[in-house]
Symmetry: C2
Subunit: 321 residues, 2 copies
């Protein structure tokens, strides 16, 4: 590999397929360690833009079983898979994280599957940004597909749009009523709807309701979400689910939407990183800088309100040149 | 009220006790409307610093019933109460939000109780910041206590520390094992632990486990969390719960911790507001500004990585002077 001798040793190890080096670098990203920076910078040009498939949905719809089934499907077709389980980092979601962790079948003897959970312990732009960066390392490491599972519920479900190239929203038959309520929210997220546990009563109705919903929201030139029914007991529908994902990935290329959405994703990411930097710098200076401390004193004394203080700080924010 | 003739009409209405004006202003905060700004600025000096009590905990532990019981307790002692239910704004938490909304008993004929749910629809600093600002309006409006309920799970549970003066973590007996796992996370949050549904088997053990946990974490000069057992069926323990909250509020005053934690809360809030401003401005400029667009092009072309782009933007961030 030409030029790889100039890469940091950890980056070279990741390109070689060293799984421990990969895991260690992801931990550095997760912990917000500066040592992750040269690794990310040097591997970024080596990313190919592989599919990053988000699997979102309420607790208890069987996301983990579905992921196991997708892994089996992909492996039988010779594809390598990395799974990233994203934890929105509420202490209360801890239970479910642990639960989900156990439910994903680890395959320590299969080098073609890599599993990793992510929390937002100090990652610079939060857990969404850390997941994006981890997905890039996985891309550079040569994986064919990254599956991102959101664990628990929370803002990460929405942030999946900022991470995934294709988003799958998983529902179960009895959530039909909720679908009506959540219409708008779901449409913002889903490229593919998956009615899982389709062996349960009501699955046909749920699928039909979703098909109707999708038909209402169809727009010329835009992607029309695909609805698939799956069950992980038999299992059934897993091929159809993967084909729906692949057809969305093909649409991204043929329509030119991939570049546009990647551009949007990068904008959000970079803005997030700058915000984070500004915030970190400002927090330090509010403690240390005398002038800024006086401003804070005024707010504490209620002679200045927080928004006005923020405006003053923003306008007067000095350049570090 | 001297000087109130200079206030914006909406602010004057809120001070007069006009509930509709209050609700409208909170909606403006929630939607990130600039019209909220003069109202917040003019009412900020009139806030007294009333107790803002966060009620956090996993789904299904009975937070809403507990809040109903606390409202009854406070009303019978002549105190007015505002309840703010915070929705972390996942489309998937929609169901539980609706559920909780129904479970809180509305008292349209009691002017001493105000109920409001909050989502982060475009609020400048996110839902935590919007909730803080809403609590200030409620303070200025004359309420004696604000109860903040976190709905669903997610990052808001952690953010309760940035909103509440006293945080109550509600658990139920069978969550005993989880407590062990979540130890650190819970301690970061809780001033008061509440073992609700204490009529269920295992309540004594759960309370004892928490007492042990608390005893291990005791530090001279710092607040030691209080553990109370409650049930909303009988109801029992509600007085003890309120007394635990009040004793923490008294501790904040006697120890001087109130000023320190308010200062910290305001720092976090102001930094968040500045970050938001910087982010908004930058996002606009990444689209419009030619130089910045070129930078983004380089990142899209993978000749520059996102973190390096963020560093360049941060260092060169021009002042608007």
């Amino acid at each position: 590999m030409s030029g790889s001798s100039r890469l940091p040793p950890a980056a070279r190890a990741i390109l070689r397929g060293d799984r421990r080096a990969l895991a260690r670098s992801i931990t550095q990203i997760e912990n917000g360690e500066p040592s992750a920076e040269p690794i990310l910078a040097s591997l970024y040009p080596r990313t190919r833009g592989i599919p990053v498939v988000g699997i979102a949905g309420p607790l208890g719809v069987g996301k983990s079983s579905l992921i196991n089934a997708l892994i089996a499907r992909l492996r039988s077709h010779g594809k390598t898979v990395a799974v990233v389980a994203v934890d929105p980092s509420s202490p209360f979601s801890g239970g479910s994280v642990l639960g989900d962790r156990i439910r994903i079948e680890r395959r320590p003897d299969d080098e073609g599957v890599f599993f990793r959970s992510m929390a937002s312990r100090g990652a610079s732009g939060g857990v969404a940004s850390a997941t994006l960066e981890a997905a890039r390392l996985l891309d550079a490491a040569g994986f064919d597909v990254v599956l991102v599972e959101t664990v628990g519920s929370g803002q990460v479900d929405v942030a999946i749009r900022e991470i995934a190239t294709t988003s799958v929203v998983v529902l179960v038959p009895h959530l039909g009523d909720e679908v009506q309520t959540l219409k708008a929210g779901l449409f913002e997220i889903a490229d593919v709807f998956c009615v899982n546990k389709s062996d349960l009563p009501g699955a046909d109705t749920a699928k039909r309701d979703l098909d109707d919903l999708v038909a209402q929201g169809t727009h010329e030139g835009r992607w029309t979400p695909v609805v698939v029914a799956t069950s992980t007991i038999a299992p059934t529908g897993i091929d159809a689910l993967w084909e729906a994902i692949e057809s969305h990935e093909r649409f991204l290329d043929s329509s030119g939407a991939r570049t546009a959405s990647e551009r949007h994703r990068l904008t959000v990411e970079i803005v997030g990183l700058v915000r984070e930097r500004v915030g970190r710098e400002l927090a330090e200076r509010l403690e240390g800088d005398r002038e800024l401390r006086t401003l804070l004193d005024q707010v504490v004394a209620r002679s200045l309100d927080p928004r006005t203080a923020a405006r003053k700080l923003h306008l007067g924010f000095p350049r570090d040149e």
